[in-house]
């Protein structure tokens, strides 16, 4: 089960790969993600997403894809995660 990504829901969570560790949820600077009852991530506030790709980069399970992020899955940049959250 993969939640469809669309311009309005730019963050795609691969449900079968997600292990519900909660890292993306905690790291998202805009609190876009939330835990579903099974602990796995869901996109709760897509409209707040700034496409910083932090969730994608920080997901240990390759379960998140940010559509239309600047780096097309090869996110680079200087600052660390803290920077992204700041």
């Amino acid at each position: 089960m993969t939640s469809a990504a669309s311009p309005e829901v730019p963050v795609l969570v691969r449900h079968e790969w997600c292990k519900g560790c909660g890292i993306c949820i905690a790291m998202c600077p805009k609190k876009v993600l939330e835990a579903a009852p099974d602990g796995k991530a869901t996109v709760a506030r897509p409209e707040d997403c700034i496409k910083c790709e932090t969730c994608e980069i920080m997901c240990p399970d390759f379960a998140i894809r940010v559509v239309g992020g600047r780096s097309k899955g090869v996110a680079e940049g200087k600052g660390d995660v803290a920077g992204a959250r700041a």
Partner: protein, 274 residues
């Protein structure tokens, strides 16, 4: 053209075997993004690992991949690189794999300046065997074989690789995933031996034993306890105690081994012709 990470995964084997919240996946993502930015052709990349949780990475990657014996990844990789100098040989290894049983191969690969990129997934513990202390476990930490607290000091692996002769040495944590990915990119671009230490969380063993909380707590802990190299230079040993120094520590330009060996082949052929 940059290549998305999924392109490098053998999707049929996902989800991978790592525990929920294990930092190994973050480190692997950083590696794959670096490969993607460099747009290395899959057929020209060879990933070699030893044994351990970290060392299970190659099985999930759509390159030429070898999961060898515990600690020996760099020795296998040396044979691959020397026989096929045109391949990008990348070793993914755990801290136990690289610094305990594999320590000798690491310093010798560095000394020879073999053109291999090594990423050491340092979770300060033997994950695969359920949480014994490793040569990277800080003194005082608990582990299943250190029930009274670890009495050994950990290596400063970056210092060691540098002293052994490596051409590139850097360290970052999973809290610095972008930086980490950049370091890996620089490492791959290095002619000669390049080493990146990726400090990562094992919530299952290191975290639980040492009451480090959730994976998120552990990442936060890394972030708070990290100091970058420039800042660290201004701090005394006491202030640095228990801190993780992150940054690029060394770039050398010693010639790469297989290139030097090409010279030997030239000389040998001349000698044979005589």
């Amino acid at each position: 053209m940059a290549v998305p990470v999924d392109n490098y995964l053998r999707n049929q084997f996902m989800p991978h075997m790592w525990c929920p919240g294990c930092g190994h996946g973050i480190v692997l993502g950083a590696v794959l993004r670096a490969i993607g930015r460099l747009d290395l052709p899959k057929d020209e990349v060879c990933i070699v690992s030893g044994i351990g949780c970290a060392s299970r990475a190659p099985g999930y990657l759509d390159f030429n991949t070898v999961h060898t014996t515990h600690g020996r990844a760099l020795a296998f990789a040396t044979g691959i690189k020397l026989a096929r100098p045109d391949l990008h040989v990348i070793v993914l290894t755990g801290d136990g794999d690289a610094s305990a049983i594999g320590g000798n191969h690491l310093i010798h690969a560095a000394r020879r300046n073999m053109g291999i990129t090594t990423v050491m997934f340092n979770n300060s513990i033997y994950g695969m065997t359920n949480g014994q202390y490793s040569p990277m476990t800080p003194k005082g930490r608990y582990a299943s074989t250190a029930p009274y607290g670890n009495v050994e000091r950990n290596f400063d692996m970056c210092e060691l690789v540098k002293a052994a002769g490596g051409n590139y040495v850097a360290r970052a944590t999973t809290a610095h995933a972008r930086q980490l990915s950049n370091y890996v990119e620089h490492a791959i671009q290095t002619q000669g031996f390049a080493f990146v230490e990726a400090v990562t969380q094992c919530p299952t063993y290191f975290g639980r034993r040492n009451k480090m909380g959730t994976p998120v707590d552990m990442i936060e802990w890394f972030r708070k306890n990290s100091v970058n190299a420039a800042a660290a230079a201004k701090l005394g040993p006491e202030e640095l105690d228990g801190k993780i120094v992150v940054g690029e520590f060394y770039r050398g330009d010693a010639p790469e081994y297989t290139q030097v060996y090409e010279e030997v082949i030239k000389r040998a052929k001349e000698a044979a012709a005589r």
